[in-house]
């Protein structure tokens, strides 16, 4: 009896997911993005493509680490010769740097907009275009209606959208996930000198029908690598102690 109840709930959940715009990938195809332990945070156990993801950041340091994490995701989405669009009002991305995240910089088309209205219009139009692999938009504000429009656009086209929000004020959006990526001190392997590989604290603040969490992720050899065990971060304080000492 109990088992059947759980069964029914599981089936209902499965039926609800597509209605919310989260489609499981058909057949035996795996999700193009493998995030290791972070995969378990998502419904169906894989990163949600064909949805809009939202990233919060404060300050240029955060913008750089968020950009790095997103470009890492883009690299997997674009690996079949795909193209992506990057929309922003004040562009600071340095194209040659994209190469270290596995993207050929000339596959990205940058669009400069003057204001948020233009950004949102361009983003919606771009998300409707299913010839693209992904669309990245930098905007401060994203209202609920606007984010709902973006979500409806991707449900048709199955393009993955990323919204980078610098110093956001409005928190209620229709995006599937909300992330916050901050820089962490790099973990040095074998006492090597220098700065080391990019290392981020990846916080999944909100995920529809999934389990939010926090992880420490490194970017090594053009792929994500888990610097520490999945789960709440313990590594930072010890790291900082080392520095102050």
């Amino acid at each position: 009896m109990v088992a059947s109840k759980a069964n029914i709930i599981a089936q209902l959940q499965k039926a609800i997911l597509p209605l919310q715009g989260i489609k499981s990938i058909a057949g035996n195809q795996a999700s193009p993005i493998d995030l290791g332990p972070i995969n378990h945070a998502f419904p169906n156990g894989s990163f949600i493509t064909g949805a809009v993801h939202e990233f919060f950041c404060n300050g240029p340091e955060d913008a750089a680490s968020t950009g790095g994490f997103i470009t890492g995701l883009l690299a997997s989405l674009m690996k079949n010769n795909g193209a992506a669009i990057w929309i922003s009002a004040s562009r600071t991305i340095f194209p040659p740097a994209l190469l270290s995240f596995g993207i050929t910089p000339d596959k990205i088309i940058f669009i400069d907009c003057r204001n948020e209205k233009e950004i949102l219009w361009t983003m919606e139009e771009a998300l409707k275009c299913d010839g693209l692999s992904a669309v990245v938009g930098e905007t401060q504000e994203l209202g609920f209606t606007a984010s709902r429009r973006l979500q409806l656009a991707v449900e048709q086209s199955r393009v993955t959208g990323f919204v980078i929000r610098l110093n956001p004020r409005n928190l209620s959006t229709a995006c599937v996930t909300r992330w916050k990526i901050t820089s962490l001190a790099a973990v040095l392997h074998n006492n090597m000198p220098g700065v080391g590989f990019p290392c981020w604290k990846v916080e999944l603040l909100k995920v529809r029908n999934g389990k939010p969490g926090s992880w420490q992720v490194e970017w090594v050899n053009k792929r994500f690598k888990h610097a520490a065990k999945a789960g709440p971060m313990i590594a930072i304080p010890s790291n900082q102690k080392m520095k102050t000492g």
Partner: protein
């Protein structure tokens, strides 16, 4: 297909224009005059003045003696040129190829146009009627050759059209002056008793050439259609052009949309058959009052997709002011390129930048937000960070140089390096701390230096020693010192970017 030409003669071009500008002058005797060798000579006389016996070439003083109420105006030197080019532009509504025939005429290449107005006669009548409505007294002739039409316009009793192939017969009764030859030769012919063209046409070529020269033979043969004659249109017709004349002037947006759609469809159909595509299109609307409204659009990749082109131009229809109505729509394909046929793939693979939907999306963005908003970058052979990439001009452009991978580059680069305060040990150690925007960053780890020299052939200046540093919070920065450490303190520290 034989050519058809119309020659229009403005009998009173200059005085008509004065009457149009000052309607009070209608039916009054007035002349235009010009100073020549200290005397005022009449250069044009109004019909009323002519009926009193005043003609071109007469002195103003003499003319005043003939008619006491005569008004005299100063002639404007390049007036005929200006007027005729304006009229030629206006005549583009009848045919795309119109040329000026100084001093007082226009020549229209109307090959293939008359049937749109219901035949040769109706076409010519329409042109004459419209010009008369504008206030010009004209006579015109239509024939297979420029020479014949010119002769008919000026020397026939009334304007008429010559049937195709009958132009030589039409020339026979006309005076020899109708052959566009110098007055000297006309006088000589008249002296010999040759007054009508019919009398010369049968004569052997070498006889005529010996007596009257090569230019005479040329004019004669051009009129008979034995020798080619070309005209120079005021607006060279575009090879890819579609026209849509309207029976009634169009004033509504819906009307313009329908016209635009029709033109795009015909043009795209033609382009498709020739495997060509459009890069720049211009949609022109000729208004009843002689003004022209125009919208323009460009595409990122040559296309003959009618629906897409329509969408691009449709957004700009609102900027067209129809005024009293538009009577002619013209769609010009200004830049035409070959279309690479896009092969549909059986299995879905990302086509990347070659995707048609993508280029259509970019066209839409560009037409909405204006040019210069879309950028794509290619590697450039420079180590200097700001010059290490260059904008690509099109989606297909590639380059032989590769992106450089050997050195770490920051994901976020400041447009202009910002000055920072730094504590750094000499000679070449990375800084220990730096202050940027008032916040103190303590440096824990560092990589570097990586020296990048100025490219002296482009810009003079100091080299940069770059360091990649990590502060106590784990944020990574790209700092550089510009110049060597010197006692004069000429060096400065800057922050240039943020690493991911």
């Amino acid at each position: 297909m034989s050519k058809r030409y119309i020659s229009i003669w403005f009998r009173q071009l200059k005085t008509d224009w004065f009457i149009i500008r000052q309607p009070l002058l209608f039916n009054t005797a007035f002349v235009l005059s010009e100073a020549s060798h200290g005397r005022m000579i009449i250069t044009a006389a109004s019909p009323a003045a002519q009926s009193e016996g005043i003609h071109t070439g007469l002195l103003v003083a003499d003319a005043r003696a003939i008619s006491s109420s005569l008004q005299v105006f100063d002639d404007i030197t390049d007036l005929p040129d200006k007027l005729l080019s304006r009229l030629a532009e206006w005549c583009i509504r009848f045919t795309p190829s119109v040329s000026i025939d100084l001093p007082d005429g226009l020549i229209l290449d109307v090959t293939g146009c008359p049937h749109l107005w219901g035949g040769d006669g109706l076409y010519l009548e329409a042109i004459i009627k419209r010009l008369k409505e504008r206030g010009y007294q004209v006579s015109a002739g239509m024939a297979d050759t420029i020479g014949t039409s010119w002769a008919i316009a000026r020397y026939a009793k009334e304007s008429f059209t010559v049937e195709s192939g009958k132009h030589t017969e039409a020339l026979l009764p006309l005076p020899v002056a109708s052959l566009r030859i110098e007055t000297e030769i006309v006088d000589r012919l008249n002296k010999l008793g040759l007054r009508q063209t019919g009398q010369i046409i049968g004569m052997p070529r070498n006889v005529l050439k010996r007596r009257f020269g090569q230019s005479f033979i040329k004019r004669l043969y051009q009129a008979m259609g034995l020798e080619e004659e070309t005209i120079y249109p005021v607006q060279p017709p575009e090879p890819y052009q579609e026209r849509l004349p309207c029976l009634e002037p169009i004033v509504t947006a819906t009307g313009i949309e329908i016209a635009l759609q029709k033109l795009i469809e015909t043009l795209c159909h033609r382009l498709q058959q020739e495997a060509k595509g459009l890069r720049v299109a211009k949609f022109k609307c000729y208004r009843v009052d002689g003004k022209m409204e125009m919208i323009e659009t460009g595409t990122n990749r040559a296309t003959h997709h009618a629906a897409h082109l329509f969408k691009l131009l449709e957004e700009k229809i609102a900027t067209i002011e129809p005024g009293l109505g538009i009577e002619l729509f013209v769609l010009d394909g200004l830049k035409i390129e070959d279309v690479v046929p896009f092969q549909e793939k059986l299995w879905k693979l990302d086509s990347g930048l070659a995707d048609i939907q993508l280029s259509e999306l970019l066209d839409r963005i560009e037409s909405k937000m204006g040019a210069g908003r879309i950028h794509r970058y290619l590697p450039d052979e420079h180590y200097w960070p700001e010059r290490s990439f260059k904008p690509a001009s099109s989606l297909d452009e590639t380059t032989t140089s590769n992106w450089k991978v050997e050195n770490r580059r920051p994901l976020q680069l400041l447009a202009k390096p910002a000055l920072i305060e730094v504590t750094a040990p000499v000679p070449d150690y990375p800084p220990m701390l730096f202050r940027y925007k008032g916040i103190l960053h303590k440096i824990i780890k560092a990589d570097g230096p990586e020296r990048i020299e100025q490219e002296w052939w482009i810009q003079e200046g100091q080299h940069r020693d770059y360091y990649c540093v990590e502060d106590e919070k784990g944020c990574r920065y790209w700092l550089f010192r510009s110049g060597h450490y010197t006692s004069e303190k000429l060096y400065q520290w800057f922050i240039h970017g943020f690493f991911a």
